[in-house]
Symmetry: C2
Subunit: 213 residues, 2 copies
């Protein structure tokens, strides 16, 4: 694959982030070499003046560095890596439908399921602000709604779009498979559980790096 | 353009929604005919059993209907309509960078700027729940951050990606140009204001339908 990427690819990431793991997993599935530059988001390392000026003015990771250019937003980086591969469907409707699930992931899934994991498993409930604590029930309900929608969708199919794995599956897998760290119950979502197993069985699959330091 | 779309295209929408307007505007810029099916989100018409079963199990508009298939998520519908046109850059990095701004729009921009417009201009502050009122300051700050980032990005370029208008501009335009309805001040963001004028001057541009009933 390397000849398709004349520029060095560097992932600016925190290994505890599911958004970063998406990109690692896609690179592994495709056999694409990826250099890693780690940051500790808990120490504000993505808010330093250097990071904001040189890597991402939005102060967030992951950022995929392609030569001397920087690409923020995890799902945009997934798209960049996978263009021209079987992880993006050939069919026009399916390709847009894949993006549909990736936008769903960033709008309905990640702000609820990833945020509760971050708050409960990393920040710790005792350290949350009063306003954050007040938002937990709404995020819990919205996260359950997202999981229910996924479970219903997977009742009649093995993958989110078309007949094979696509970026939609990888984007949704990243925070779904660790949702229990945010106190979401997965075992009642049997279609989701079987799909998680399917993703983990893909040739080239790599697990998420250890969540603990 | 019609020969590129053998199936009838129908937009399921509420004309007050900026997410729906994105799709109308792209169809207008491309000269693509689009049938319209209107719903009133204030009356819960996108939560009816029929809508959930037949149009979008997620209970949201817009949905682009392509023949007998349904495509939710505004930015996925934008992608579907614009594939193969000049609204999607040819360059691989630019294409991913366009998606980067579209994911930014759905993650950092819409949940703050569109939500405050909806709460303040449509629901009315007096009818908000206590929890919604408590979220206003955080959404105000996050929305201002998004506008500041856009203004900084536009300081050195006319369009978000590459040298010409792309889906990134249309996606960000929809709720930015009506942000004042959510009590965001635009006139201090001079680069944003000039870019709004540029979008409004595009050949084929159509304004957002009247916000009032």
């Amino acid at each position: 694959m390397t000849d398709e990427h004349p520029h060095q690819l560097t992932l600016h990431e925190d290994p505890r982030s599911g958004n970063c793991y998406k990109i690692r997993l896609i690179a592994a599935l495709l056999g694409t070499p990826l250099a890693i530059r780690e940051y500790d988001i808990m120490r504000g390392e993505t808010r330093s003046p250097e990071f904001l000026a040189n890597v991402n003015a939005n102060g967030r990771i992951p950022v995929l560095q392609i030569g001397d250019r920087f690409l923020p937003e995890s799902n945009a980086a997934c798209w960049y890596l996978a263009e021209g591969t079987a992880l993006i469907p050939q069919d026009r409707f399916d390709r847009a439908d894949m993006l549909r699930w990736m936008f769903f992931e960033q709008y309905n899934h990640e702000p609820n399921i990833a945020t509760l994991r971050f708050w409960l498993a990393f920040v710790g409930e005792a350290h949350l602000s009063e306003q954050q604590r007040a938002m937990i029930p709404a995020k819990r309900m919205a996260g359950e709604d997202a999981l229910a929608l996924m479970d219903e969708h997977l009742a009649t199919r093995e993958w989110f779009v078309g007949g094979t794995v696509s970026l939609a599956d990888i984007a949704l897998y990243a925070y779904t498979h660790v949702a229990e760290a945010g106190c979401f119950r997965l075992r009642d979502r049997s279609n989701v559980c079987r799909w998680l197993d399917r993703v983990a069985a893909l040739p080239g699959y790599v697990p998420m790096p250890q969540a603990e330091d």
